[in-house]
């Protein structure tokens, strides 16, 4: 586990079994992918890697991933019926086995289409005890653990774009705990991931979206 723990790390989470990594972690991965898509998913291709592919069936990993996509929490007793519920709610899912390269054994890739046409690819891993890490959004390498409010901003790679975002956050008293910037290539699309100490509300998001050279901004609540 490493680092400092508290009593509720040791007793908890309350979850639907059988495995904190293959079930609870899988629900959280699905939930993160849903939040990153930012709308109701209607189509999902789910690529299972490593141990998710080989032992996922017996752990209900497929059910758990879909439950997460539907917005369920790790303790939702409807998780075993997730595939049926997905069908009722018009979410069409397809599973494939894939080799995602040199990644954690419990890794999944989502290719999601939203009800208003948003499209996103998300890769994430379940790293033990229900803890997850989102590793990639579209072509951008990220590291999102969901332990802080997280801001994901797609923008143009130009001087001053990062500064205007951090300036705005400072004026609304939001403190940045961690920040990561990556880009496709110089001057092209870039992605900022900011983990903050305070919650990012819709008003702040609207302000961010109005800034020049910001294509997209979304806020992800901690898990």
């Amino acid at each position: 586990m490493g680092g400092k723990s508290n009593v509720f790390d040791l007793l908890g989470p309350i979850m639907v079994g059988p495995s904190s990594s293959h079930t609870a972690g899988a629900v959280r991965l699905g939930g993160m992918a849903r939040k990153i898509l930012g709308e109701e998913p209607v189509q999902g291709k789910i690529f299972l890697h490593g141990s998710f592919a080989t032992t996922g069936k017996g752990h209900g990993t497929n059910l758990a991933l879909v439950a997460g996509l539907l917005g369920m929490e790790t303790d939702d007793e409807c998780i075993p019926e997730a595939l049926m519920i997905a069908e009722e709610r018009g979410l069409n899912v397809r599973f494939e086995t894939a080799d995602l390269g040199d990644v954690h054994p419990n890794t999944v890739k989502f290719d999601l289409l939203g009800e208003h046409g948003s499209h996103v690819q998300v890769i994430g891993s379940s790293v033990g005890g229900g803890t997850i890490v989102i590793q990639q959004i579209n072509d951008f390498q990220v590291e999102i653990r969901g332990d802080y409010p997280t801001l994901v901003i797609l923008h143009r790679d130009l001087p001053g774009v990062v500064a205007q975002v951090t300036l705005l956050l400072s004026t609304v008293q939001i403190n940045i705990a961690r920040m990561l910037v990556s880009r496709e290539k110089k001057g092209a699309e870039a992605l900022m991931v900011l983990e903050t100490d305070q919650t990012i509300d819709n008003a702040v998001l609207d302000l961010l979206r109005k800034l020049p050279r910001i294509y997209q901004a979304l806020a992800i609540e901690p898990l």
Partner: protein, 287 residues
Amino acid sequence: MRTYEDWVIEAETKGLKISEVIIRNQMEELEQSEQALLARMGKNLNVMRKSVETGLSGERRSLSGLVGGDAAKVEGRRSGGESLVGNQMSGAIARALAVAEVNACMGKIVAAPTAGSCGVLPAVLLTIEEERRVSEQEVLRALFTAAGLGIIIAERANVSGAEGGCQAEIGSAAAMAAAAAVELAGGSPRQTADAAAIAMKSMLGLVCDPVGGLVEVPCVKRNATGAVIALSAAEMALSGVRSAIPVDEVIDTMGKIGNQLPCALKETAQGGLAVSPTGRRIQADFL
């Protein structure tokens, strides 16, 4: 790094129960009131109770079909007055199987400390609650004793089968349950440490070798035997039996053994029972 010994000494010098020391520590760290912490732990306890009930009814089967119905068998024999080991121990066995079966069948449980070892602690505590008629408040506080010891295990070693083998999961759960059982039975802070040490010593070296990689065989039944080890360790400690090796050293030893275990014996299903002829056949049939 924190030690359990420090908490024992603090409890002894201030004349407190070990759970009180741990609750005070967590109030500070989580910046929450005692009531808030107890209320949050109460949710865990409610889910534990419900999972025991659900499991004892014996109606579910796991996704592989390997698990389900065994808790009801043990409970049937116990309620028929036929138990070989007596009401309390058979009650703990039935409850541990019950919760672990619910987990394997995709039911709701509390990871304690993990999903695979979720049966040990509720089995031990709820059995003592029934047998000795302690109050729910006392059970709640004993959960903090268990979790407090778990914190030390997680910080000094780990509670993950993939990292430390089954000794880190069922072994940790048994040690946590043993400490909590001692407090619930009126034992001293020092005796909680001895019980935890004795329980964990009995599980050192236990490998994580799940058939097909599933949290079913041998995990479900190890929850029951883990609960029995916890009760026997508590019985010894309450009688004044000391652990020659102090609990923090036992925890460190568990961590080191975990590092020395080959990967094949750490939740990869590439060794142990998982590769026995029957284990392989089960895996081939299901997966």
